[in-house]
């Protein structure tokens, strides 16, 4: 027991204390959180725009007149569909490497590039979550809004979106959790995130056990905290569900 403890202590000092190797972990954690946060924001913006275009096009199909505006909307709808197909049809690691190592090969701002890559990817999934939320609202709600004299945007703003927001918030938060874990592949493009940090230590000490377990525990703690938060929000939404 004593020997095991001594060994553990030695390993711990080797991996985290000597040469301030713990900094790989903290810097990596900071970058992981930054990447997750920025890509979440970017993903939300992209997702809302795409969901808006796609559901407006679908929702107004029955009543729209074949005007020029309709054609423009149709064009953007097609564009959004291509975006969704490509971004959801290829692995995020490949997208990340293309962005970091091909398109922006001249830049070494890893955090910004990774945020861009994960944000573009997440936007595709967020778009479908929000669009699903909009389409799940009974069409009678749209009709009631329109029959009172609200235009399309006002109906969305006052009637539909408040209901959508409530329905999709838990799904969006789960997307956020998945995103946090997904960023662990950032190292493929030499972006110094948490996993990369752990890996760097392991490369220097030839000891994989301790740095990787530490990394896993940090992810687990983050995900558990966020999951707990989602549960809390869900309960809150249900409790004032009328």
């Amino acid at each position: 027991m004593q020997a095991w403890f001594e060994g553990f202590k030695h390993q711990f000092e080797l991996n985290f204390i000597q040469r301030s190797r713990w900094k790989f972990i903290t810097t990596g954690l900071g970058n992981t959180l930054l990447i997750t946060l920025f890509s979440l924001l970017l993903g939300l913006v992209i997702g809302v725009i795409i969901a808006g275009v796609r559901s407006t096009y679908d929702k107004t199909a029955a009543t729209a007149r074949p005007t020029f505006g309709r054609k423009v909307l149709g064009f953007f709808n097609g564009l959004c569909k291509v975006y969704l197909t490509v971004l959801r049809g290829t692995p995020v690691v490949v997208q990340l490497m293309i962005i970091c190592l091909v398109i922006f090969a001249w830049s070494d701002n890893g955090v910004a590039l990774a945020s861009l890559a994960f944000g573009l990817n997440s936007g595709a999934y967020v778009a479908e979550i929000i669009r699903g939320g909009i389409m799940s609202i009974d069409n009678g709600q749209f009709e009631a809004g329109r029959s009172l004299g609200f235009n399309y945007v006002q109906t969305m703003q006052h009637v539909v979106l408040p209901q959508v927001f409530k329905n999709v918030l838990p799904s969006l938060m789960n997307e956020f959790i998945a995103l946090l874990k997904e960023t662990s592949v950032a190292g493929y493009a030499a972006v110094r995130d948490l996993t990369y940090g752990g890996n760097t230590i392991a490369g220097q000490t030839y000891n994989f056990f301790m740095p990787l377990i530490a990394v896993a525990l940090i992810y687990l703690a983050l995900v558990m905290t966020l999951t707990w938060l989602v549960g809390k929000v869900e309960r809150r939404l249900r409790s004032n569900d009328h």
């Binding site: 029955a62 009543t63 729209a64 007149r65 005007t67 009974d138 009678g140 709600q141 009709e143 009631a144 329109r146 029959s147 009172l148 004299g149 609200f150 235009n151 006002q154 006052h158 009637v159 408040p162 209901q163 409530k166 009328h242």
Partner: protein, 247 residues
Amino acid sequence: MTTDVLIRVEGLEKHFGGGSIHALNGVDAEIRRGEVVVVIGPSGSGKSTFLRCLNLLEMPSAGRITFEGVDITDPKVNINRHRQKMGMVFQHFNLFPNMTVLKNMTCAPVTLRKKTKEAAEATAKQLLERVGLLDRADAYPNQLSGGQKQRIAIVRALCMEPDVMLFDEPTSALDPEMVGEVLDVMKQLAREGMTMVVVTHEMGFAREVGDRVIFMDGGRIIEQGSPEAVFEHPENARLKEFLGKIL
């Protein structure tokens, strides 16, 4: 009743499914101010589609609809402005579940009519009083019975002070014991001189309140006239068959 025409429908057609289904095949009709018009007919006859075309919830495939002298099928017309004057009541109520009764009623007047919240609420409360639901002003729709929901839906539409009320089978989704309370509100509205177009299966209501009954089948108006003429002396064979089944 004046003879002032409020809604004129000319050659109205509506096709669905890329033209394969003809829900309306050339409907001509007039709704006069203060008139209560009841539209009856078998299911699939196009009566709901006809009603929903009146405020362009369904875009007509052909034909013209003139409301208060304006051709609202003209693409240049801002339909939202005219819809404010055409209240609509749906089979499934379509109250906004995330708003209280009062908010359901005041949301549109405050946003679209630029009424103050206080003025809109005062109007809403008067209307609630009239339908006996003032005590439910702060309830949410899922706390109400079907009959209560539909009465709220009616007064929600009335809050916009419409010139005509369109009813799309307003009692069809209700339990039988709640039909009466909704019909009572509609009767009261008719007595006050509201112009109403009502798609319904309630023949008693049609007889008692209707100024004119329109019988539709196959996307056309087959016969129309006073309730007495339509119910007591039907001429068309299909109308006779329809009445034979339901009366």
